[in-house]
Symmetry: C2
Subunit: 364 residues, 2 copies
């Protein structure tokens, strides 16, 4: 792709900002968005920051029919000194391109896309909420836009970035949830799209989620699609267990999404000399560990919650109450450290933070 | 759902119709479309036939992120007497609701949706091409439109029907294709969305299709996601084999789409007293039948091609040439009979045809 610049078309008036104590997730959007077009002839082109407004798409646009799309999710954090920070955003850009590959979507220039995100966040700096635990959620996504009903990769795409100020995930402090092990529905299978961040994986997960929500569970624990024996993910997070002093997480196997938080948890645990292994874990092993008292902690890891402790796991009719239903020590330490780094309160031993400079420096 | 009527807002000028000998699939659309909205408060409402025009959707509309969508595909045929015919459209409406159920989309009123399709086709009657083998393709689809980034069923949807005049699938007569057995990628697995007609299934199929197309194959033959042993579908069609005088098709198992053409093929074969069974079929069984000379025919069945004979099947490095690479007798007879019924040239023993009345009778 040739070097390109970002056209700026800013609003003359701005929307009123919401109260940062009252924020929900993903319902309010900022004044501007980033868009870039792709055609087979021109490649990615016409990068621009424009007012946030509806997309106009032909009813035959492929995204409405064949689901060819990918997305990412990350956050911008405001430090107490007024700095704007991103957390390992290059990992999201790398994964976006891995997802693109699986979905037959042309790759983006990762550095340019990250530059676009930084520039958009800088333009919208005043939208980053200040209250404890709040942030500006960043949603890059690519949709197939060719007006054609043939089942084939689209010849046209749009790469779009939108921003949403989001509230603290834990309004009353980090808190364990109840999870149901899903035996009927499957999230993904080897040879499918489980490794990619694409709409279809989320669409297919809704049914299981809907069924367990009625029974008071926060999420489902997904098992492998082949044997329904091995643990894959929890809801839309990666999952970790502490068994007899060792932290275990399912190894990446082609159907598990490679989470940025998952990778960060593994790096931190190694840094702390806490034993951590990536391998297959079966429900039977977990049941045995629960029975003999060696299942010490369980938690999910993802961008939205950072760390989500699991207080109870229900498998068929069996309830595993983990760490007396309380947040475990490792989960708490990971949560405090990760959020500490993200909000600039803790040192950043791995150079994970990418600072967003002032808009004047970005817009040339 | 309460009884509702369809508001009519017709164009004052019409587009020029394409040459019916030059038509491709799914690239040209008619003057009007049908739309109906859904909200949790109002249910399905505001049914209308309006000019065909771009949809305006918020960039955060769920369809762009989480793929919650379903669709159908059927055709309107013009008979030599000028009648407009649909083929078993009630089956498509039933399947649409089964897909809706799997994707957590509220059900539609099947009779009302079919009435809407008939009314739209009647309005666009002049768009139905007249050349041999051509038809008006009908694409009903439902998309999730709530502007919200939470992973949850949408609270807003649109049900839309668009129409596209399409050319003959076989420009030079029914013709066998070469198919590659897919060993790496998987279309669907039990517990996933394989039974539903939803975008994600098609998005995930693109990669395998792209890889075999480079090697000169028309489509892939999908194997089951668990053992990669049993045959599921071919491309986006159901598949049939004639082995030693008996026709065999994979039994519906939760990951195979229940095709309307599949069902019609089974009914016709029974009517003709041709042995037909629905059961598991492994690639090993097929290889054995190929070796001992009992693999007599193979063909796909779907709305687009009706019947698509398979002349060669390649499994790993082994090529099975079927019926000397020629269209088999059963495939030909099914193709002639099904298209004969669809175009009103053959009698319709099962009452499969639904006639579309003149627009004056439909618009009250």
């Amino acid at each position: 792709m040739e070097e390109q610049s970002i056209q700026m078309n800013l609003c003359s008036t701005r929307k009123e900002k919401p109260d940062s104590d009252q924020l929900e997730f993903g319902k309010i959007f900022t004044d501007h968005m980033f868009i870039m077009d792709y055609s087979d002839e021109k490649g990615w082109h016409d990068a621009r920051i424009t007012p946030y407004e509806p997309l106009r798409l032909d009813p035959s646009a492929m995204i409405f029919h064949y689901g060819q799309s990918v997305f990412e999710g990350l956050k911008a954090y405001l430090t107490s000194e007024g700095k704007v920070q991103l957390f390992r955003p290059e990992k999201n850009m790398q994964r976006l391109n891995r997802s693109n590959n699986r979905l037959c979507i042309p790759p983006i220039d990762e550095e340019f896309a990250l530059q676009a995100i930084k520039q958009l966040v800088a333009v919208e700096k005043d939208w980053i909420p200040r209250a404890e635990g709040t942030s500006l959620y960043i949603r890059p996504f690519i949709i197939s836009t060719e007006p054609y009903l043939g089942v084939a990769p689209s010849s046209h795409y749009q790469f779009i970035v939108i921003l949403s100020p989001v509230g603290a995930y834990y309004k009353e402090g980090i808190n364990p949830v109840k999870i149901a092990v899903e035996n009927q529905y499957v999230r993904a299978v080897l040879g499918g799209t489980g490794e990619a961040k694409t709409g279809g994986n989320y669409a297919s997960s809704l049914k299981a989620q809907e069924m367990v929500a009625d029974q008071g569970f926060a999420q489902v624990l997904w098992l492998d699609g082949v044997e329904k024996k091995y643990i894959e993910e929890v809801g839309s997070m990666n999952v970790f267990f502490k068994i007899n002093g060792e932290v275990v997480t399912p190894a990446l196997n082609g159907s598990i999404l490679e989470g940025v938080t998952r990778n960060s948890v593994i790096k931190l645990l190694k840094h702390w000399n806490v034993p951590i292994v990536e391998r297959k874990i079966s429900m039977e092993e977990l049941a045995k560990a629960n029975k003999d008292g060696t299942l010490e902690e369980a938690f999910g890891a993802g961008t939205a919650a950072v760390i989500s402790p699991i207080g109870q796991l229900t498998w068929n009719d069996e309830d595993f109450v983990i760490n007396h239903g309380k947040t475990g020590k490792i989960a708490k330490r990971l949560y405090d450290t990760l959020t500490g780094i993200q909000y600039g309160k803790e040192s950043d031993p791995f150079d994970w933070i990418v600072e967003v400079e002032e808009v004047e420096q970005l817009v040339r």
